[in-house]
Amino acid sequence: MATTKNHPRFDWTNFHFNGGPYPLKLMQDIAPDKSIANPIDRYNDGAQEIQRLLQDSIDNNQRFRAYGSSWSLNNIAYQPDRMLYNSRLNLVIDVAAEHVHAASTHNHQNLIFLECGAVVKQIHNALRQRGKSLKTCGASNGQTIAGAISTGVHGSAIDVGSIQDGVVGLSLIIGPSANDRVYIERASVPALSDGFAASIQSRVIRNDDLFNAALVSLGGFGVIHGVVMEVEDIFLLKRYVRNINPHDALELAKTLNFKDSPFKIPGETAADGSGERPYHYKLYINPYRPNDDFVTEIMFKKPYVANYPNPIPEIQSSIYKDLPSFIAWLAAKFKRSIPLLVAGLKSEVFPPVDTDVLGTLGEMFWDTSPQGAAFGSAFAIDIADSEKALAVLTKVIRDFGPIPGILSMRFVSQSTATLGFTRFPHTCVLEVDGVLWTGNRNIISLEEYLIKCIEALKAAGIPFAQHWGKNAAWGFPGLVDYMYGNADDQWKNMRSALLTKQMADLFTNDFLNTVSLSDFRVGAPVELIATSEIPV
């Protein structure tokens, strides 16, 4: 039997020390029964324990939220009653050929069933052993798969979506009863058979709208116990870091037209001399020196070969752990020092230029070490608006700042998730990352700065959405409506149709309340979540 260790009165914080510590009545640490050899049996045993904990929460009239690596830079994972640490539930299970749905176009070797707590690094390793790879990942590898998909973690793979867009099946636990284990997938793209769902003791719902709503669930659709992911054959990435003039960089940002760009990487061109389309394109920008060249990190997909030099430097160093706090203190005290600090720390925050390496996706986005309290904000915008949005946010930083952070731009294809924040056909994610500071009479606070950003983008008429796992002025009036139009209603309807009112409340937290996504639609028609016909 899986077991759970209770830690009462726990002060919880997140990996980036962003906010908190948050007082918690009970932290529950669930561990699988490793004596159960059959992975599906062990998975079901874990599900049974989660359901026991849900019943116990109901009996004690307390809310419940599962969490993993605490990676998000805000309080989305937190609620004050009970939090279930699920990272030890991390099975990686191959999908048998007989478990692929008869109408599916998937090759079973390109599907993998992951338990909620599997972290991205573990998944990279497991897939590599199978000659496979994730299609994309975030810039770091410590998130659990459940946390990553439910907040919309993305990379900068320009023609690939975010991590959740590789998911083809979701195994949810929505209550303590036998009927409360559900396996959801799209009716339009079925993946696994009813036999698979039966093996994990779940009822099947094949419904595109429900699946898309539950993909980025923000923890509100119950416990994500497992996900089925579509993966691909392992590949290598050739990474280049170069200076790029702002004009060329922003023209690429607006169009992603690498073929006709004057910016080319020698050796990454077609026979006619035009530029090849990269897998990954990212820009680093110092907001205090906007006329300087930007730094670009650009990666091209290559076939996998066995022998290539180890791309991860053997010797690395890290800054004094108290240095970020000192920088934050200095910034708050002497705000005019910030541009100098950013320039001085360029080698720490920008990748070294003119370095070329070759490696797998997992090697390119290897371990990151925590380096003190950090903030991060990310605005998704249509690439057509990227130059304009960069100018708007740079102006905010210069007019109301300075703030101790740098800008970057990443690019990703549209998510199919109802509340996927990468919601534009080609999305530019405009980010500001830096050390967490405290506002005072000298310097704007982070909260005020985040409000100014929203106001400025709205005033400029630029549609945007914000990363669910990062800092934002989440309480800004009408923010979610502005970002998502009617999609948030669709999400709420689906949630209300799937969950009972009692369970919807149990899975609610302050974050969902703040963004006005917690309200339950009494009487949401159950037809909304009925299994749809699979198209022939």
Partner: protein, 107 residues
């Protein structure tokens, strides 16, 4: 003048102390750390860390010390050896060698 000189002396001492204080970590490239959600230390967040703060006598003809620790049925994810100015001084002039080691086992 006296005050400036003493401040400069203090700053010099601080620089020497800081320069002598460092740690070396050996980390397994493809391993995963053993988990501990109660660990919210900045450098090892969420990992099960074991700290060893001990001393051992080394005879004149011995130049290394072994620290033998269990690590489940796998291996070490990370081993950190810390050196401070005090340790440098003590270990240079005493037979008893101070060891400050932290390690994390593989999951």
């Amino acid at each position: 003048m006296k005050s400036i000189a003493s401040r400069l002396l203090l700053a010099g001492i601080l620089v020497v102390l800081l320069a002598a204080c460092y740690s070396v970590k050996i980390r397994c490239r493809d391993c995963l750390p053993e988990k501990d959600p109660t660990n919210q230390d900045q450098a090892t967040f969420g990992h099960m860390v074991v700290s060893v703060d001990t001393a051992t006598k080394l005879g004149l003809f011995k130049d290394n010390a072994w620290l033998v620790k269990p690590c489940g049925d796998k291996g070490f994810y990370m081993v950190e050896m810390r050196v401070t100015f005090g340790m440098l001084m003590a270990n240079t002039f005493r037979k008893k060698k101070i060891m400050k080691v932290k390690y994390i086992c593989e999951e």
